[in-house]
Symmetry: none
Subunit: 192 residues, 4 copies
Amino acid sequence: MPANPPDPGRRNERSRRAILDASLSLIGELGYDNVSVEAIARRAGVGKQTIYRWWSSKGEVVLEAATDSLDPVVVFPDTGDIVEDLRVQLTGIVELIANTGFGSAYQGLIAAGQSDRDLLRALHDQIIAPNITAFGQRLTSAQERGEVRADADVQTLRDLLYGVIEYRLLHAMPIEPGHIDAVLAITFQGVR
Amino acid sequence: MPANPPDPGRRNERSRRAILDASLSLIGELGYDNVSVEAIARRAGVGKQTIYRWWSSKGEVVLEAATDSLDPVVVFPDTGDIVEDLRVQLTGIVELIANTGFGSAYQGLIAAGQSDRDLLRALHDQIIAPNITAFGQRLTSAQERGEVRADADVQTLRDLLYGVIEYRLLHAMPIEPGHIDAVLAITFQGVR
Amino acid sequence: MPANPPDPGRRNERSRRAILDASLSLIGELGYDNVSVEAIARRAGVGKQTIYRWWSSKGEVVLEAATDSLDPVVVFPDTGDIVEDLRVQLTGIVELIANTGFGSAYQGLIAAGQSDRDLLRALHDQIIAPNITAFGQRLTSAQERGEVRADADVQTLRDLLYGVIEYRLLHAMPIEPGHIDAVLAITFQGVR
Amino acid sequence: MPANPPDPGRRNERSRRAILDASLSLIGELGYDNVSVEAIARRAGVGKQTIYRWWSSKGEVVLEAATDSLDPVVVFPDTGDIVEDLRVQLTGIVELIANTGFGSAYQGLIAAGQSDRDLLRALHDQIIAPNITAFGQRLTSAQERGEVRADADVQTLRDLLYGVIEYRLLHAMPIEPGHIDAVLAITFQGVR
DNA sequence: ACCTAATCGAGACGGTACGTCCGGTCTTACT
DNA sequence: AGTAAGACCGGACGTACCGTCTCGATTAGGT
């Protein structure tokens, strides 16, 4: 993710953590674009150059912070009941959004991505693509067990499920368990 | 939409049009947030103050420009076939996005709305809400005719359909007729 | 002196004075090159851009401040006694150097001029050249009255008198009345 | 000259020379204060630390480089004709200034000395003071032989002669043989 | 000839200032 | 009164160097 990474061996891990932590906490407090690189450096107790040495923009920093905070959270369970498993997974994401800085960061990244194609691509590679893969595997396994029709359009199914969550997030609409139930009800009514 | 409207009687309509046109053309060329108020004023041949007198931010200007360009376009047909009518309507929106400055403007407004709640609300009131209303009416009429089950969750249905389009737009994924077909297939499989 | 002067009619005189005053006071306190443009702007309560709009560098600002503070001070008396008149004039300059911010500013300007030929030229035009002219006129009048030999090399005489003062200033050597007397004694021993 | 000399036995002479050479060549090309310690280190193929280990500042480095290049050059002849001897010595200095990197280095050192009293003192001790001594001895010998009046103010004489050269150097005025003649003519008209 | 400690090139680090851009406000002269 | 023009204060941008610091790798002297 670094713009043009120097020797990562010489990197100061203490500074890296301080920068990522400062990013998320500031964005949580002030919102993505009321946060400047200067402010991140100030809060992290770090020189601006140290940020620009390892990342090419605020977006890259925040993306790394978001990825870090997302990584350990989202796994697909496989209990044999695909709808129940998805309910668990989607609920986990919604809670991550609601209860951590991740929501604000993700909103900001999508927003920034609209005028920074590199950032949008990086966001895709690091956050969207892994989910596409995992979702595809879980669905395939459900198809093999006959839980879901073999000809179901997996990609569209995924876009619908995650798209509606992002849509409500970006439009500042609340996302509650009932919404997830309703979404799953409609989308799985005809595919199993 | 004016922030704190002075006397609108004395307003120079020539300047207003120049500003709205400059906004859309600049955003089409450079993307929403590579466009500054200064640049809009420069291109429109207008003083900065003239913009700030009538709008409270770049977002308001662009929203007005977007609304203007949207107004006459997307209506819900009612042929008695709800899925076919939706296909027509959704296709119309996708074409509007693809072929006019509206797409860039809308993307930018969603992005800007993430850190400007007033703008997001205005965007909702002027662009989203009318669609919700129209969609609700069309669906109700379909329910009355028995095309769609009476207990179908209309709001969730709408979020799914428009959410997935916005999702693909914001993630720079192409939206083609086949995608619309697939989305309609899944969402209407169980509701009629 | 402005780098590329905009319309001077629109200029804010209050800001101009604040900037010149801040320059001299800061240089007096900290020395020429411990003073940054940022610090001048801060002390003057002014945006950096307002400095860069009217001057092209710190040097230009300080030169204008120095010239302003020099202007009213140095005039050549003409009592008919050239040596006595020079003693008065030189003493005035030495006192200006000792007792005001002018000394520090002038030192800094000479120093900065060593790597900024434009600044050195501006310094020459605004401070050195007028002195050359005035000195030349006073000497000529002395020659006409027979106080000084007609074939005396006026330019060299001037360089010696003012050069030795600058030399002692730049080498942090004290300059006292006795030094001026000694200099005048040697240089005028043979020319009258 | 080292700031706080470590063990000079272990010093790498190859690096020392590379640093001094790089200093002078860079200053010749770019002027004293367009040259940074980083640039010297880069050109010399040396780590910054190696510079800071042995010198306390850029000024110290340049002073050592200048002293090295000055050492063998300017001696006072003693032919019995004081004016002629001075003409030779002054001409030698002027040529050193004009034809080697010494001029740029000296200019820069004077400039830097204005805001670094330690450097100015070092410059005095290593370059000015030896000249004062030598000049004093040569003048004394001239006085003993009756070439120059016994009560001539030697210190003032020296300041005048070398001050006027430095003055013209710092003001980017040319220094030619005629100037030296004129200066000697005025200053020695009354003292012999 | 070996060992160990200092020096070396390299370059990351926390900082400060650079000169530029733009945000939003205010002022001036013209229409 | 509205407008085009643009100066104003402020704050962030991304870059260059400062002087300090940490790394192995090399190189010296003392044994």
